[in-house]
């Protein structure tokens, strides 16, 4: 008011003290709010760091490949938008088909696997595949009638990339009791060889290593064309929002999936079991959530503490200026003007302290501009509430009593 800066300068040590309180409180609040922000960020990024993978198994959880997973379930899972990276496979078999009725070919069992992404087949990576010119890696996610063929198979059957092969295609059925394998012929179909791949293993448990790999989309389309039901052989995916795991599980339950029960029939091939690898995620997220809740619950208390510090510090510092305030009141300065004038001094000092505190906080916590603005606003409003309350109390003093000796 009269001369703000001069008053501040003349208060010397007390001005420095208020400034220092501002620095300390800002630093403290920055660290506290910084911790909340960091925990929230960590929680939001947890799904990337600890993705929750899930795969369909039989009810006992003993099998995750060679299953009969109803194609309708796969479509339902796709439609939820609750999963990412849905990978599924289908098993077919074939033998070479004669191109003319006269041609006689011996029986040769050919294992074909349909995939929608190369990562669905864990023994193979993109580097193991050599593509024909003009064929892209996303071939497997499409519906084109073509296959990539194992190098040894090409060599043994005198085939090359770019050839067309005539195949009698069969779908696999395991029968009612699931102890017999049936091959149901689909048709004789010509497929173009669009690439080859090298497998470094010859055996992979019970898994039949495929001689050919084709797009699962093409298999689905073909089976539909021949009015045959599609069953996936395996399926896995990542939960898109693990922070909503309960919603995801409820949706899966509504589709008929059940939690894996180790005591259930381990020979079942029906893909109704759902194994969700969420233990690590749930533990980490729970711990983070607990910390976050704790810090958020205490935040109002922290703000109240700042209001209190503002109140006490101002009240104590202003005690030595009681007579000055009384003189101001005696000379006709209104209570509100007194409060405004002294608040302005405090505000300036505290803002200065806040800026210094923020500069220190930036170097400790790396908070950004928006974070700094939030901290400044929260701190300033809280502290000034305390200051105004103290000044309000101070300015209500009995002026004459302060300025005169008691009678």
């Amino acid at each position: 008011m009269f001369n703000l800066m001069r008053n501040i300068r003349r208060q010397g040590f007390k001005s420095l003290l208020v400034c220092f309180i501002g620095i300390l409180l800002t630093l403290f609040l920055s660290l506290y709010l910084g911790n909340i922000a960091a925990s929230r960020k960590e929680l939001n990024h947890l799904p990337e760091v600890l993705p929750v993978a899930s795969h369909i198994t039989n009810i006992s959880g003993s099998k995750s490949v060679g299953l009969l997973i109803d194609g309708g379930l796969i479509e339902k899972i796709k439609a939820t938008n609750m999963v990412n990276n849905l990978r599924y496979t289908v098993q077919l078999s074939a033998n070479f088909a004669p191109e003319t009725p006269e041609e006689e070919l011996g029986y040769k069992y050919i294992a074909i696997m349909g995939v929608n992404d190369i990562s669905a087949f864990s023994l193979l990576s993109a580097e193991d595949i050599e593509w024909a010119d003009g064929v892209a890696e996303d071939f497997l996610s499409g519906r084109q009638a073509g296959v990539i063929v194992q190098e040894n198979f090409l060599e043994n059957n005198d085939l090359n990339i770019g050839d067309r092969v005539w195949l009698s295609l069969y779908s696999i059925d395991y029968g009612e009791k699931l102890n017999e394998i049936y091959y149901k012929k689909i048709d004789d179909i010509a497929l173009e060889i669009v690439g080859s791949y090298a497998l470094n293993v010859t055996q992979f448990g019970e898994f039949i290593l495929p001689d050919m790999i084709c797009p699962v989309g093409w298999v689905e389309e073909t089976l539909q064309e021949y009015d045959k039901k599609f069953y996936a052989d395996s399926a896995s995916f990542v939960v898109s929002d693990p922070l909503k795991l309960n919603d995801f599980k409820a949706a899966m339950r509504s589709f008929g999936f059940q939690p894996v029960n180790a005591q259930a029939d381990s020979y079942s091939l029906s893909g109704f079991g759902l194994l969700v690898n969420d233990e690590t995620f749930v533990r980490s997220a729970g711990s983070l959530q607990k910390n976050l809740t704790m810090m958020t619950v205490f935040l109002p208390l922290i703000l109240l503490l700042i209001v209190l510090v503002g109140y006490i510090a101002s009240y104590l510092v202003m005690q030595s200026r009681r007579s000055e305030v009384a003189v101001m009141r005696s000379l006709g300065v209104s209570q509100s003007r007194c409060i405004l004038s002294l608040s302005a001094e405090n505000a300036l000092l505290v803002l200065l302290g806040c800026l210094v505190g923020l500069a220190a906080a930036v170097s400790f916590t790396g908070i950004g501009l928006s974070g700094a603005l939030v901290i400044t606003a929260v701190f300033f409003v809280s502290y000034m509430l305390g200051v105004v309350a103290a000044l309000l109390k101070l300015s209500r003093m009995p002026v004459m009593e302060v300025l005169t000796k008691s009678e």
């Binding site: 000055e324 009384a326 005696s330 000379l331 009995p398 004459m400 300025l403 005169t404 000796k405």
Partner: protein, 232 residues
């Protein structure tokens, strides 16, 4: 009708154990151009009455009229800013401001420019008998008499016609006390102020045009030489 009319004014406040009646049914009048003294023992209610006259408190009953307007209806901050000023025993200058700054303060509160306020302040300081060298001094570098004279100059700076003083000579030696008494008399008789002084100082009271006695919250008029004592 006086500049200040006090009509049946009482003031009580809640003490630690009981309600204290500091001023009881006081009725009196103060005119422009007159010098009044209110005397009485400590605790008699003199300063409380002064506080009421300064508009720092409102009576619990009764009314004070200033120039015909009821104090309770006035903006009392504005009343102190423009009409009534108080001089205290302990001077109460702003310790961190110079003499000149102390005197310009009320004028700047009224919105007058710094240059104009300084010119008037210098004139007022000169009128209380202080030289230029006092302008840049802070209160700590001044004697008691100098401080009180600066306080009178500050009180005059507001431009009102009511000057209230609480033991203005209480902290001064006889020489400085006389000087301040003369200043106050001068203000009343030559500048038309209504000067009301609360004091224990008999010498000061003798200089007053009218003397009131405060006793247990009640006010009586003391007879001046050649007059009869009567209730106020």
């Amino acid at each position: 009708m006086g500049l200040i009319e006090v009509k049946d004014v009482s003031y009580s406040y809640q003490g630690k154990y009981q309600t204290i009646e500091a001023v009881k049914n006081v009725t009196c009048s103060f005119d422009e151009g007159a010098f009044y003294a209110i005397v009485g023992h400590s605790g008699s209610g003199k300063t409380t009455l002064l506080s009421l006259l300064a508009g720092l408190d409102l009576p619990t009953s009764g009314e004070i009229y200033v120039d015909g307007s009821a104090m309770s209806a006035l903006n009392r901050d504005r009343y102190r800013l423009k009409t009534a000023s108080v001089v205290y025993q302990s001077f109460n200058l702003f310790p961190l401001l110079t003499a000149l700054e102390n005197v310009t303060y009320p004028m700047q509160l009224q919105g007058r420019s710094k240059a104009e306020a300084e010119a008037v302040a210098k004139q007022l300081i000169a009128e209380v008998g202080l030289g230029e060298k006092i302008w840049r001094r802070r209160p700590l570098m001044m004697s008691g008499g100098e401080q009180q004279r600066v306080a009178i100059a500050r009180a005059r700076a507001a431009g009102g016609k009511i000057m209230l003083a609480d033991e203005p000579t209480g902290n001064l030696d006889a020489k400085n006390g006389n000087m301040i008494t003369n200043q106050l008399k001068l203000l009343a008789h030559e500048r038309g102020y209504a000067v009301i002084v609360v004091t224990h100082n008999e010498e000061l009271a003798k200089q007053a045009d009218a003397v009131y006695m405060m006793q247990d919250g009640q006010l009586t008029t003391l007879a001046k030489e050649g007059q009869h004592e009567s209730d106020a």
